[in-house]
């Protein structure tokens, strides 16, 4: 990792530690960190979810996470640190499943926009799938994005 523009990419079975992510990507030039985390939603309207199980095509997912980080830097050149972490395995309601963190000198330097872009792209091109465990059984969640040659 460059000390000036650290990039942390991880697919992990371990719980995501937001404090550690903040420390890992904050450089001495940074005054702002934006962190998005996806969590296991227990209620979606009337539907109840008990757990989520995540599976990854790990080698390709790491390559695609690196690509997402590069795209973020190309679009938001003032940002400094980036963390893209996906947890895999079984997670309970309320637990963070994915985190996108971005640091920058000031809050107006694109950290909010870069974090939003990062989670949007992650959900399009990073090969990870989730299975919902409901009280009455479990089912894979189907994505709907079909990649093109530019992805």
């Amino acid at each position: 990792m460059s000390a000036e523009t650290p990039t942390l990419i991880e697919i992990t079975h371990a719980p995501i530690d937001l404090n550690a992510l903040q420390r890992a990507i904050t450089t001495p030039r940074d005054g702002a960190v934006v962190l998005f985390t996806g969590t296991v939603r227990g209620q979606t309207g009337e539907l109840e979810t008990v757990q989520l199980e995540y599976e990854a095509y790990t080698e390709m997912a790491l390559a695609k996470l690196r690509q997402v980080a590069e795209e973020m830097r190309a679009r938001f050149p003032l940002i400094h640190g980036i963390a893209l972490v996906q947890r895999i395995g079984t997670m309970d309601v309320g637990e963070p499943t994915v985190a996108v963190a971005v640091s920058a000198g000031h809050r107006g330097d694109g950290a909010f926009e870069a974090a939003r872009y990062g989670i949007d792209r992650l959900k399009q091109i990073v090969p990870i799938w989730k299975k919902e465990v409901r009280p009455d059984g479990s089912a894979w969640v189907e994505g709907d994005y079909m990649p093109t040659a530019r992805d």
């Binding site: 080698e59 994915v98 091109i125 990073v126 990870i128 799938w129 989730k130 189907e142 994505g143």
Partner: protein, 80 residues
Amino acid sequence: MRVKLFATLKEKAGAPEIVLQGAVSTVAEVRQRIAEQYPHLAALAARSIVAVNHQFAFDADPVRPEDEVALFPPVSGGAA
């Protein structure tokens, strides 16, 4: 040629990979051979994504014997 499977495809096949008989030279041929040799995967495979060496690949793209080929449904990672 081996083809890695993920998510629904892995579950339906009952294995994390399948082996295709005969030579294949394009992504289109990979899809065709799966439909012929694994008919119970044909419907799912038709709306699945092919990756070659960790990059998305399309019908006209070449496939060499040493390539890592994978077949999987549209991704649904992240959350929210």
